[in-house]
Symmetry: D3
């Protein structure tokens, strides 16, 4: 059970509905996922978070699928169950195959391993990297 009640469209205030409408339009869906229904308790937080997601995840110097896979990499590293499920689903919708997912996680695992070898040995940064 969530820490706060989830706010459904039918009962939402106008400024919350406005964000819900934008999300559904942007994604071409007719439902809102639980993350936004919880943020809706703070309409300013909901608006700010959605605006950030929309801007950051848009095509730019990196393509949206690469961005979505980076999101999965961070979520797996942090152990966020909700985000791992929701962003893996989003990455698949954008074209991530099973083989791509497995390679992505192999990199995430390796990086988490060598991060600790480097931190555990307190290795000084080579001047060539700076």
């Amino acid at each position: 059970m969530a820490i706060v009640r989830l706010i459904e469209y039918a009962e939402a205030a106008p400024e919350v509905r406005a964000v819900y409408d934008e999300i559904m339009r942007a994604r071409g869906t007719d439902w809102i996922n639980n993350f936004w229904k919880a943020l809706a308790h703070d309409p300013a937080l909901l608006r700010r978070t959605w605006d950030s997601v929309r801007e950051v995840m848009a095509p730019g110097a990196l393509d949206p699928l690469v961005k979505e896979m980076i999101y999965v990499a961070v979520s797996a590293t942090n152990g966020c169950e909700y985000c791992t499920h929701s962003h893996t689903a989003a990455a698949r919708k954008k074209g991530m195959s099973e083989a791509m997912l497995m390679e992505l996680l192999a990199v995430v695992g390796l990086a988490n391993q060598t991060n600790r070898l480097a931190n555990g040995l307190r290795i000084p940064v080579d001047p060539q990297f700076q």
Copy 2:
């Protein structure tokens, strides 16, 4: 100062030199970075880690630059100074522009933010994502 002495090529055992040689050949460089010089205290760990890096970071379902950027994303999330410097340098060598780096970090920052909103509110995973 590192926790262990860094082992230079000149003083390295044959099985360590063999790995050093492979690293320099694969990267087209004539120097070894400190990470490997510390792992060299355990030749089996050195060999296993290099073999893993070589296999995991090779072209596959994902291209090597995307993999390198995922490595940076994990290292920034974990706060590993050494790995952030070394893998950002590697990603630049593979073609990452300043604009790509900034977008990558914007995604990393956003994911770390929403990971905590989802965890702090203990939001249940939508059935549609499973």
Copy 3:
């Protein structure tokens, strides 16, 4: 299911019961939450942990509600499900409103974001801050 069996009051050793009694008296409740029932397998750990909680969370230079909200902030950052639920409940009991919780989590999310921007860019600390 917990990794260890939960030890109920009825079956607890005297030194465990003594801690359980103190907890219920301090909180004005007639039940013990699962955290303590698991620690009870090591009565010294149970005693030390309860004494620390009692001392650290007491009124001092900071008021108990602020302390409880800091506890929630850390638990959300670490993704600890049990602690997020228990300390959010404790903070609400001490007066945290829904609006306060949402603002608290907005700060937690923002801090987790900018922590990674700072770490990913390895920004040197300004002399003015030291």
Copy 4:
């Protein structure tokens, strides 16, 4: 050394200067700290991050000093050197005494400890907390 060059006011583009001006005005200072000078490589990220900091850290249901201390708690938990220094300095400017800082860190330490006891024992959440 930072991963990217720090962009000084004199060389900054107009939209970067506009953010720098707002920051100095809001804080009553005549200098910009390194964090913003690094973000300036991506003016949209700079603008979005500053707007978020301004909104989230403003007085609301929580007072700004409490928010700043929550920021310190998260930064200490994540081990972000830059953020720990900058937000501790900010909290002191807003009135945090040495005694308040030490109590804050005592709570942070305790929460990090009990988070791991709860996670290591996989303690089920009590129904009373949900």
Copy 5:
């Protein structure tokens, strides 16, 4: 539900079965735990991970039980539910008593606490330790 389907022995490709067989032989069991059934989607990752586990966890300068307890310590610190359950079970099979588990977690909790006191106060490393 896992992010990927779990691959059972009966439907597994020959190189996956070969790893499954080695795991069961090494452990003296007639079943494969879910972790490997998920990795099986990437036979190279499955093979590499199993080979690493086999080599790293073998008797050496440290005995296998100590290694297994270190695995538990890391898993509890990271909050990995699957790994905490599976490696606590493995440590018990190798002889870890309830008293040993509780002491192990007491150290894990303490280390997580003092890690944050040290990081929150940014304490400089004493020259004697370097």
Copy 6:
């Protein structure tokens, strides 16, 4: 530079000196490391932390060297520079060889890797482990 001034023996209050004396006596040294000199700003925190360290790290079901190595494993996982240096030094003093350190870090690296594979794939815990 530390966030707080380090408090030297000569200027310390009696209750702080009492802890310093105990630390030096327990360790057979004539100096105090920086960690305690920073905690000394809060004599109750200093006392509580030292008492916890003394009790938790004492011989029990686990021997002190194993406990010290678990401390190193957690500190490397969290990336705490101070703690990695100080507890590696302590483990060496208690008998940890270079080979033991390298094996310890190999386990820490592997656990951090498989923790993320398990979390990234959201693998359900096998009933046999519960």
